[in-house]
């Protein structure tokens, strides 16, 4: 278990160096990604989709936030399978972190693995302070909300 968590962390570290492509998300990876133990630095997991206009507001905010916070990681997760239009939509926000899109598992199972209390509304954002704390919010977020939940501001 510890080994797999370590491997997962190692992959997270290595990922930004890879091509800016989407990794298909299965339910096991989703569970790991949303586990506070997987994050040892302030991290945001941002769920979005191509049809969600409010998601773009959050991605824009995260784009600014990540530039001003060197320790912050932003992992994006598209709640839909990868299509040709998905990459360009995300590219404009220049987010350096790993990007995932729904893989071939039952989408209901992936959603459940992400968060059993999530009903599919977007945007959905998860904040990890890197020390075991996790918060989640649906809808548009603010810089203050994000920095507080991430432990970047007290």
């Amino acid at each position: 278990m510890k080994k797999s968590a370590f491997a997962f962390l190692a992959c997270l570290i290595a990922m930004p160096l890879q091509a800016a492509d989407f990794t298909p998300l299965d339910k096991a990876t989703a569970r790991q990604l949303l586990d506070p133990a997987s994050h040892r630095q302030p991290t945001i997991v941002a769920l979005w989709s191509s049809d969600c206009s409010h998601c773009k507001k959050n991605l824009q905010l995260l784009s600014t936030l990540v530039k001003s916070n060197q320790r912050l990681r932003v992992i994006t997760l598209a709640a839909e399978p990868e299509t040709a239009s998905l990459g360009p939509l995300l590219d404009r926000f220049q987010l350096p972190g790993p990007r995932y899109a729904y893989g071939s598992d039952n989408p209901d199972a992936i959603a459940y693995a992400i968060d059993p209390s999530w009903a599919g509304e977007l945007p959905r954002t998860f904040f990890f302070n890197g020390a075991g704390q996790k918060e989640k919010v649906s809808g548009v977020i603010s810089v203050q909300m994000a920095e507080k939940a991430l432990g970047l501001r007290f």
Partner: protein, 407 residues
């Protein structure tokens, strides 16, 4: 883009070549091993499962679904046990949406014409046009037409189609022309508009579209039904100020013009986001309006059922109750033969279950019955009727089209 990727890969190779640390090499090896257990990165598009079904007057079951860039029509004369070879509705391919809250629709005009509508999509998001094809003889479709005059490359999507006994065909949809205009003039505007177009000749020609309402939610499906007196009703998720995503009902006059728009639910879910959960509405033989919808109430999300009754000039919800458990989703409902049935899907931690709830007393009491389950992806279920009988129709990726009688 490609050059960027190559440059990054090259920089990774250079970096790896310089690494001599055993720990870092170990990390690289671990990643390769981990990558092997990740499902292969197939670029093959997952089929879009958004499907509609309806029984024709002769009792056969008709289904419209997406295949590539065509709407395909399937027929079954034995309640879904066997299916005809599919026939293309649109001879000329065009991209359209058939996922989640969007899907092709099927209906019958009063003159017997078979109607299929869909949301043609182009560019980003839900930019597109509402399209309608008609088969006078129920088999051979003419070229599809766009039902609105607006040609702007903006969102016209999530249509709902309603037919009336006097051969009207009415479509209403989410339309972003007013929000785009507001954006251009830097004026705040909540959500999207709802527009409608009326045909008085069974869907052959359409009158210019008109606005039903401002401030609808941006990407939840619409629903429609004929009211007690035959007046058309359209219901959708609305954005009440400042950001309460409850539902609204528009009632049209017999001539197809707007009579009123009223608030229909009062759960006060405040979110600046997209719920991706539209309502469903049916009016029973006694003229009672029954609805199912999803909302968060005091922090908890649930599917709800309720009757939408007049209280003076306003509406109120009577008999509101929770449908299914905390993961119940995408309910539909139908009414026939004095019975009311609700079908929904619900993930149980392992599989997606299809459940139904039936009432013989107009929605006062219900009994719940599991109908089926699937391991894979699935469409939203539909409740359809044939005469006095109700059925649940559910398309799943692994099992295909499935029909469940609801006696």
């Amino acid at each position: 883009m490609l050059n960027d990727s190559r440059a990054r890969l090259a920089s990774v190779s250079n970096m790896l070549a310089r690494l001599s640390s055993v720990v870092l090499l170990g990390l690289a090896v671990t990643c390769v091993q981990a990558a092997e257990v990740v499902p292969s990165k197939s670029k093959a598009a997952r089929p879009e499962l958004g499907t509609s079904a309806a029984f024709a007057a002769d009792g056969s079951l008709l289904v419209v679904a997406k295949q590539g860039e065509q709407v395909m029509l399937y027929r079954s004369t034995d309640e879904g046990r066997s299916w005809s070879a599919p026939a293309a509705v649109n001879a000329q391919s065009e991209a359209f949406s058939a996922n989640g809250e969007n899907r092709p629709k099927i209906a019958f005009a009063a003159d017997g014409g078979l109607l299929v509508s869909w949301a043609h999509s182009f560019g980003a998001g839900h930019n597109g046009n509402i399209r309608l094809a008609r088969a006078d003889d129920g088999e051979h479709f003419g070229a599809p037409q766009t039902v609105h005059k607006d040609t702007a490359e903006i969102t016209h999507s999530f249509e709902s189609m309603l037919t009336t006994p006097d051969n009207k065909v009415i479509l209403a949809w989410i339309d972003k022309r007013d929000s785009e205009a507001a954006k251009a003039s830097q004026t705040p505007y909540r959500g999207s508009g709802i527009y409608a177009a009326v045909s008085n000749d069974g869907g052959r020609t359409f009158q210019p579209e008109f606005k039903l309402a401002d401030h609808a939610c941006e990407c939840c499906r619409l629903t429609s039904a004929l009211d007690r007196d035959g007046s058309p009703l359209f219901m959708w998720r609305h954005v009440y100020a400042p950001n309460e995503r409850d539902h609204a009902i528009a009632r049209l006059k017999p001539d197809g013009t707007l009579e009123s728009v009223k608030r229909a639910t009062f759960d006060r879910w405040q979110v600046d986001g997209c719920p991706h959960h539209g309502p469903s509405l049916v009016v029973d033989a006694q003229g009672v309006r029954h609805a199912v919808w999803f909302n968060q109430k005091e922090g908890d999300g649930h599917v709800y059922y309720g009757r939408l009754v007049a209280q003076g000039d306003e509406l109120q919800v009577e008999g509101q109750l929770t449908v299914g458990g905390p993961r119940a989703a995408h309910a539909d409902l139908g009414s026939a033969g004095g019975k009311l049935a609700i079908a929904w899907k619900e993930f149980d931690g392992e599989r997606t279950q299809l459940q139904a709830m039936r009432s013989d007393d107009g929605g006062k009491t219900f009994r719940t019955q599991p109908l089926g389950a699937t391991d894979g992806a699935s469409d939203q279920p539909r409740v359809i009727r044939r005469g006095e009988a109700l059925f649940a129709f559910w398309r799943t990726e692994k099992e295909g089209f499935r029909l469940f009688p609801l006696p």
